[in-house]
Amino acid sequence: MAYLDINGVVRKFGGLTAVNGITLAIEKGAIFGLIGPNGSGKTTLFNCINNYYPPHSGDIVFKGKSLKGISSHEICKLGIGRTFQIVKPLRRMTVLDNVMSGAFLRKNSLNEARDKALESLDFCELTHRKDMLAKDLPIADKKRMEISRSLATEPELLLLDETAAGLNPREIDGAMKLIRKIQDTGITCLVVEHVMKFVMGISDRIMCINFGREIAKGKPEEIANHPEVIKAYLGEEYAKGQ
């Protein structure tokens, strides 16, 4: 049994099937990349894992426990943290308070939560921003803050939704370093990403999906040269020309 098992998950929105029978298994301590063109169902799969949108069929098993019918906040308590594609900072709280709100999941006193939050901010190299209001942060730091906030809930599995989107090349390098550092602490990561350099650089294994279905799965180099993946991203014509 794998660490996180996703078995034939289906999620529909009206007539549209956003996720159509995805099956994947993630090993403990790995970084698993999930790629696919816009609207292919990546974020919906995330939302299924933390039950923001409950799957219509299929099952998700984390550490041998089915997540069926468990609400989003309980899933976080079980050890699955997440960030958002469109960042959701707690806008009028300071960066420290944001991270403390995460830390309170496992700490009950103010001082313990503050210590935990400062530790997490230090880990994400955001300590110098701690007294700023979250809404005033530049985008790269907002993303870092979300990661820091998630880490403060002490997750074992971290779902990262498009961490590199909107970042400049230097910031992307920084984000890659941060995620490797997170992996080194023993946290398993599931990464949804568009920026190829990023996802190819950090993932141990990658799955590419399109129209809610798996089209390829494998090591980064296998995926990069997979004809179906090239077709999905660059179109039929380009794939033929290759």
Binding site: S71, F84, L105
Partner: protein, 318 residues
């Protein structure tokens, strides 16, 4: 250093509140009692509205129930309305929890509207259930201290201090952080493991209780209550929001300042300019919302920055 100075100012204010009133006239003490009552109400509303972001247009429900808690005991069993200080808040909380369970499913303006409707329903029910509530005639009871005002003042002061203490404790605990997280982004809060509906209920309990306590004080001080005054949509529910808004929502001292200014200004304006006092008041409210939407405390950093800038420019000119 800064913190020490704040405590010092606070302690001095506290001492002033205790020492000065015996030397003041009856009318001034009356105004101070209302000030303390409104501070309590503003703090009560702010726990749910300002901190948790659930804007209630119906907090008169809890004020009225707080008043009727003691009133009903007196009416049916002739028990002194002072027991209302316990019965009122408990009644407000008992009613508040199911209201929360039902209405917290609604977000934003829909929650506000639902509370508004409930406010009206409860006012009509209390007016028409003659056998239970004595209907529109209301409930009269004798005042313990007759025309003497000072004892009421000190009780009001203790209640306001209690509300400040509760708010302070909430703000510096997990609850405060979770409440504000829910206000700022409910989805993000869920993702951080916060059971949002449960914590909204946790916010409702002190909010309803403290507002109910103010109602119980009103019952004892004014000594007669009518459904149309204690469940008043405009004079209680909406004025509570305006009071918080003037001071600044979501903070500790915002509602305190707002409640004090609201009750004080209301009385002063009424005494000085009489019939147009309420108009002036409404215009002030409009101006504050337009130009200081976060209230005096909330907009203070902006105001200070603006003043500093002006000082600098005039300084360089001179």
């Amino acid at each position: 250093m800064e913190k020490k100075r704040q405590w010092l100012i606070l302690a001095m204010l506290g001492i002033l509140c205790i020492v000065v009133p015996p030397f003041m006239g009856t009318y001034a003490v009356h105004v101070l009692i209302l000030v303390m009552m409104w501070i309590t109400m503003a703090l009560g509303w702010d726990i749910l509205g300002g901190k948790t972001g659930q804007i209630s247009f119906g907090h008169a429900i809890f004020f009225g129930l707080g008043a009727y808690g003691g009133g009903l005991l007196f009416l049916h069993w002739n028990i002194t309305p002072w027991w209302g200080m316990a019965a009122g808040p408990v009644l407000a909380i008992i009613v508040g929890i199911p209201i929360g369970l039902v209405c917290f499913r609604l977000r934003g303006p829909y929650f506000a509207l639902a509370m508004l409707a409930l406010n009206e329903i409860i006012a009509i029910v209390f007016t028409n259930l003659d056998t239970l509530t004595n209907g529109a005639t209301g409930i009269d009871c004798a005042r313990t201290w007759g025309a003497e005002k000072l004892p009421y003042y000190y009780i009001a002061l203790v209640i306001a201090a209690f509300a400040i203490f509760v708010t302070y404790r909430i703000q510096n605990s997990k609850y405060g952080y979770y409440f504000v997280s829910i206000r700022e982004d409910q989805d993000a809060a869920e993702a951080l493991g916060i059971p949002t509906t449960r914590y909204k209920i946790y916010a409702m309990i002190p909010s309803a209780g403290i507002t109910g306590l103010a109602g119980a004080l009103y019952m004892n001080y004014i000594s007669s209550i009518y459904p149309e005054t204690v469940f008043a949509l405009e004079a209680i529910s909406i004025f509570m929001i305006l009071a918080v808004l003037i001071g600044g929502a979501g903070s500790l001292w915002g509602p305190v300042l707002g409640g004090a200014i609201f009750a004080g200004l209301d009385e002063i304006l009424r005494a000085t300019i009489g019939p147009i006092s309420f108009l002036v008041f409404a215009v002030i409210a409009v101006l504050i919302i337009m130009f200081m939407p976060d209230g005096i405390i909330g907009s203070w950093p902006k105001v200070r920055a603006y003043l500093r800038r002006r000082k600098l420019t005039t300084g360089s000119e001179g």
